[in-house]
Symmetry: D2
Subunit: 404 residues, 4 copies
């Protein structure tokens, strides 16, 4: 039997809630001290695929706040009441070694709130775009070389940036490249995009778990085709939006007419603090608010709000009020509240996606991995938002992979 | 062009909330005064099928309380605040003519509560089973002849009977038939079953929208095969259970482990009054409580309660508390409340099912119509409870019908 | 026995949801066709006080949209499903006669949204403040004379105006009066204030059921003292805020520490449309958001949002999420949803307040009626927000009245 | 300054959730490592009363399951996620010394479920009532002597017993005493009553925090008068019922007519397991269900259910649906969910009550302490259920104490 592959997982925003929980989860799975609950790839549906074992992964990443995995996890434990002390203790050595793989990142175009929270950024802190990309690539390369990785997956789990209006610069890679060389243009090329371009240009798979721009524009997609790189994104579908993509198809199939759908989200982690900045919030609401009309084929009144309520910490609580009309014009209601822990819901999906992307890269798949749509609020290259149709796409892919 | 078909819809429990709303709905659709919202068969997905227009239907039925459609509907309007006066006025003539098609029914084996509410039963009120079946068939036949119906569909929308433990008598039609001739055995052959046997024996399609026994046993299914009759049932999936069959697959697909699922239902219509009798309630809880473990493949703790709260009238309100475990053993919660109007949710599905059954009969389909599983809490002949997989079965049927 | 008194009730915003429901309620009480449910003054606690019978009231008012009580009520009935047709029919004659008492109003300083909805304003539509006040007084006087009223109570139930920053002009009545004569200054003297000054200057009791400025500033209060006029306000406490003022004292008395209190309100009537304008919304959130910290004596994080969701019509639905800490630092939660019909909750309180004010005027009470604090979100002249302490103030007043 | 008093707190059911949390709380307060949140007696309202400092208390008790405080608390920590490890570590020594004060108890008349859970009972396990009482008194006496206690308070925090129908035997103490001597009659004299009689007969204050019978019958009350003993009870008002006693007065004061009030409670701790036995549950539902009609003066339809849902552990979750009628017959709704941790809500109230009872004994108060009504679902000697009126009774008592 061959030596197992070694897969690098590079987390942008590594020391945030989601990033640290990914690290803890992989460390815990390594010593088999937890169940596989929450990991989609551990369902019997995916048995027999050539997915990398959790123990194959080595974690590194960028962050803009100087800390360690252990400190971040202890803070999550203290504030949100998650993780047991014994589990954290059992994983401490692995987590400390992985903390050594963290490098200072960039906050170009991340908005004032993220910039205000940052205390650890790459030098020089201001430079032309291309120079930053090269710095990033140096970090990627050093991690790959040092750990003799077979593959390296880049994942964005950083806080949400303000939205970027797409312009001409985002259309063609050659033109974009030439501009990168000359100017520093953070509003149009935010940090998430610099990390993405650095990855793609080096041939590394890139996964965007956030609503930030990343690689979601024509020039980046074209570069991915050219460099034969698989991409996935955008914005992990973990809670309230997942429910929308599950419930809206039910109303549609029963021919119940949606009149309005109000979603009110409250939470208090650092991502929430960033989303409290109206600039950053705009990106998030955009990806959350399109799901319903896309599934229904018509547009009921929708309202999505997100508020930072500090005491809730990582417990993302959503109240949705769904108003619908049935037979003979009668108005009826459904309400739900979702009390989910953000990092806990997101982290296993990041691991799942990394496993699927590593497989896809080995299979020579290129560009947007549309079979991963069920994981995203705004799936790259896919218009379908119905969770069950998206799941069907994944199952069809698995059947195809098995048969080849 | 040929004269349109004339289809009879015979409602057992015609003057109850669901029955009266079916009648009002068909009358309103006849004069095009309402939209098609709530009717699954009016979705574009089903366009082009040879389904009978609502105007093709003539309504009759049995009941055990002497009243009229108009009186029943006015009571629903006054107590539950549904239907507008102008709509009821526009339909009054049709409803009065259909009221003339209502005949007194039987309460054999319906339990003390239903028997206590009954004030209008067929004569003789006590007789051997076969004699009652013949009386029922006389009513079916007279309705068919008087209105020169092309097809006649029998639908059970009466209040829920106590559960019937299946025994030897329910296994073989010949033995059952011989026993019917001799004895009156209501506990084992409740009213719903007598109505069903009467229908099947005459070659009439039979649809059971309730949890009562009806035709859900081997001898009745065998008779249906022999008489070439299509069947469908059991217990319309209109609200809380529909949501279970939609949400449980989501938790399963995300590998979130369900710890417990509590459903508390309250409502105050006459069906609720009947379900307040523990004997009758047992049937209902049985069909509501199997969905989750069937979808998940394991059995979290579940609890279903149904309480009669008079002030709610027809507004069936459910609170569900869903407790689940995610990654790293973290427990999270979802709660929902569903505030739906029972008759309004059920009536269009009865019309949909009648249309599908009339089509099936013309196509020569026999026995349990498994493609209708998505309409039922306990689908006859189908183990699948996942709403989206059930919907897929219906869409595949439609594709097959279109191609033939 | 003397002839009963005749009391005029002048509603500013008469044809809105609250105004029309007040009119319907008084008309219905006149012919005794409804129960007294919802009327605080009909509780046994208040028996024996010299309160005016509902039949003593005659209704008039201003509005800026040309319509009638019957049309407004039919719209409420059709959209929100409230009131029965027989009730509206029984009251039709009275309502039509009262519609004749409605006069076109002013929209000075009401904000663009209200101005955009207005189609019926007093002439000249633009004038100096004093001129408008005189026009208003002409309407008050004509109503009083025509109906030979013993007393006339002016009540603001119009949509909410944008907030008015208080300045020097609001401090002294003589200065304010001289400025009114010269200039037209709607931003500082919005319509609600012109109606209030017109009333007070004429010696008429003034009641502000809205968050608009009205008479809530020193110069108006001084004028009220001078003219011996009783005042009450501000912003009727009908739903979510009522609950806050009931629940917050419970948490305080149990020494449970509130961490955050989030209130999300959605509704779809015309007041909601006006509140959808951020300028107008600011006034409302201000009165809703002060209750909690005032009761607790410390300030947990609070968030109040109000959104216009058209399909909800008059059904004001609120979701509140209350996060609190108990013994040993454990965080716990309470959530509630309130589904109340705005007009139905507000209208009886307007009638109660009118009865209490008429009594107060006869008793010679002057200035802010602090015993009415339990009716208001922002009680004039009172710092107490605890509903039960406020109720105690009312009961003590009643005891005092009874003993004199 | 004198040496501080030393007060014994004897907990019946000491090692259960509430008992262990009381012990942890007192231990933590002793070393000042927690805030006073949750302790009513630490509100400024009660400053200056001669209440015993938490450090004055020494804990002992009976239990029927052999364990230790530390084991019980670790189980609560692991299952319900409450208490931090550092806090438990800091209190470990004190808790271990208090564990030595725990003695095996009796399960006479506690019902099959409690008896099935018991593994540690006093010898002889079966005896006549008087003999058991003497055994109990030996334990009380030994604790008092060993720790040289100034006062000793007996508190029942054990799981709920089945209800005891009151008979002649419960009327007169002399007759009861003579019967105790002769017979063992657990159905009529359950464990809670034997503990209570043992306390009262010895002159020890007795506090019943559960719905079990305890001292709530004439003969026990007469004995308390004779022995000059203060009593308090019954059934701590910690969550859903507290809310009922807060919200019902609001509906009453607004003259809103309650149509129905449904309360559905789910939880999964050991008390919940006991309540899952219909015999024991009957006691609980009885004390929870009387509050509303008592406050309103009329009886809307009410429904209370309690279900054992294991995964919820100590998190008592309640959903209440409140249906009410407002002006003009319009039906409206309020719903709430309460997610409280049972032990955390109950424990500080037990400490508060012990402090108030020790004070009362020193002041020579005898019999039911009616000023403590606000702490109980079914206050001994008080008909008032309105929380704010009950709180008023406590404040009036405090005023009286201060002035003497």
């Amino acid at each position: 039997m061959n030596a197992p592959r070694k897969i690098g997982l590079w987390l942008i925003g590594a020391l945030g809630g989601v990033g640290s929980t990914v690290a803890l989860g992989l460390a815990a799975l390594r010593c088999s001290s937890i169940s596989s609950t929450g990991l989609v790839t551990e369902l019997p549906l995916f048995a027999g695929l050539d997915l990398d074992a959790p123990a194959s992964f080595v974690v590194g990443g960028h962050d803009v706040r100087q800390s360690t995995f252990v400190i971040s996890l202890k803070e999550l434990h203290a504030r949100s009441g998650i993780f047991s002390e014994p589990l954290m203790a059992a994983c401490q050595d692995v987590l400390e070694s992985w903390t050594e793989n963290i490098r200072p990142g960039t906050v170009q175009g991340s908005g004032q709130t993220i910039q205000g929270l940052a205390d650890w950024v790459m030098t020089p802190s201001s430079a032309n775009g291309w120079r930053i990309i090269e710095n990033i690539q140096t970090d990627y390369r050093q991690f790959r070389d040092q750990h003799q990785l077979d593959q390296l997956i880049i994942v964005n789990v950083a806080s949400t940036e303000p939205p970027t209006p797409l312009g001409e610069i985002h259309q063609y890679w050659p033109r974009l490249k030439s501009m990168l060389d000359e100017v520093n243009d953070p509003p149009r090329l935010p940090a998430s995009t610099l990390y993405a371009l650095a990855a793609i240009e080096m041939g590394l798979p890139y996964l965007n778990f956030t609503p930030s721009l990343g690689a979601s524009f024509p020039a980046a997609l074209a570069l991915a085709e050219e460099r034969r790189v698989p991409l996935a994104g955008q914005d992990g579908k973990t809670g309230e939006t997942l429910l929308k993509s599950v419930l809206a198809p039910m109303f549609a199939m029963r021919h119940l007419k949606l009149l309005s759908w109000v979603g009110h989200n409250i939470f208090g982690n650092r991502d929430g603090l960033v989303l409290n900045d109206p600039a950053n919030k705009a990106s998030k609401i955009q990806t959350k608010d399109q799901v319903i009309s896309s599934i229904l084929g018509y547009a009921p009144q929708t309202h999505v709000s997100i508020e930072y309520i500090e005491s809730l910490d990582d417990w993302k609580t959503a109240w949705d009020h769904i108003h619908f009309e049935g037979f003979l014009g009668v108005k009826m209601m459904m309400q739900f509240t979702w009390q989910g822990c953000d990092s806990i819901l997101a982290a296993p999906l990041v691991i799942d996606l990394a496993r699927f992307m590593a497989l896809a890269q080995r299979r020579g798949e290129v560009g947007a991995l549309t079979h991963l749509a069920c994981f995203f609020k705004n799936p790259l290259g896919v218009q379908e938002h119905d969770f069950f149709k998206q799941s069907q796409m994944l199952l069809e892919y698995v059947t195809k992979v098995r048969s080849t």
